[in-house]
């Protein structure tokens, strides 16, 4: 199933400023949230805006904060001037009878260990249904073309 991925406006604002972009720290992670998360694409900037204590999924096999996405890299420009931001896919959430079943969105962010300094990057559209690892493995993969690109 393919789901639209979007960037937070505050992330776009950060990337546009070389000084602030260079200061982004932490581990790139993908977290799963429930339908109770009230999205604000324009204003949400840090992980504390998610109110993870009540909006992040909970269940066996899911670690609070989500799974890491290793080696984030910018590559390019290719011959056509296209640059691509990409990272390794987060590990699959293995099926568990005590797992979660109410995931509705994936949230990509840089985890610093402190919610108030962990920058939000992007979010998926609502999955359209409650999903999780309760009945089967649950995975989220980035696109074959990368997480996002910057054309000329």
């Amino acid at each position: 199933m393919s789901t639209t991925f979007n960037l937070y406006d505050q992330w776009r604002d950060t990337v546009a400023d070389p000084a602030r972009a260079a200061a982004v720290a932490g581990t790139l992670k993908l977290a799963i949230v429930k339908a109770t998360y009230t999205l604000d694409q324009n204003l949400h900037d840090f992980f504390d805006d998610l109110v993870a204590a009540s909006n992040e999924v909970v269940g066996t096999g899911y670690t609070a904060g989500g799974n890491a996405c290793a080696s984030p890299t910018w590559t390019g420009p290719d011959g056509a001037g296209l640059m691509t931001f990409d990272a390794a896919d987060p590990a699959t959430w293995t099926q568990n009878g005590a797992g979660f079943s109410n995931g509705r969105r994936a949230i990509l962010y840089y985890d610093t260990g402190t919610a108030t300094t962990s920058r939000l990057v992007g979010f998926s559209n609502d999955f359209g249904a409650d999903l999780g690892n309760l009945a089967a493995d649950f995975s989220v993969a980035f696109n074959a073309a990368g997480i996002y690109t910057s054309p000329r």
């Binding site: 990337v15 290793a70 995975s139 993969a141 980035f142 696109n143 074959a144 990368g146």
Partner: protein, 101 residues
């Protein structure tokens, strides 16, 4: 700022005075769809795409142990699916082939 420049902002908005034009550079960031519960076929395409970019990163001097380890892992997966990819050119060729399949 000259009165004429102010007028250009508040009358037609087409020409910005110099101090206002010093904005952040235009950026075009295009997010790509995520794949939930990816199929094996799409997984191969995804891994070859990632491999292609990691080889590209290597060729531009972004060589780290982490990237090397990820390349090894991706190559093993792709090999298990019956494809041999040992450099950027081969990865690009296979990606184009799979993308069009």
């Amino acid at each position: 700022m000259k009165l004429r420049e102010i007028k250009s902002v508040f009358t037609n908005g087409l020409r910005l005075p110099r101090f206002l034009s010093k904005q952040k550079p235009e950026q075009k960031l295009t997010p790509k769809p995520l794949i939930v519960n990816i199929s094996p076929e799409r997984k191969v395409l995804r891994y070859v795409g990632r491999l292609m970019r990691l080889y590209s990163a290597l060729s531009k001097g972004q060589e780290t142990p982490e990237i090397q380890a990820e390349i090894r892992k991706l190559r093993l997966f792709v090999e298990a699916e019956g494809f041999l990819v040992s450099n950027e050119a081969e990865a690009v060729a296979l990606y184009k082939l799979l993308e069009g399949a």
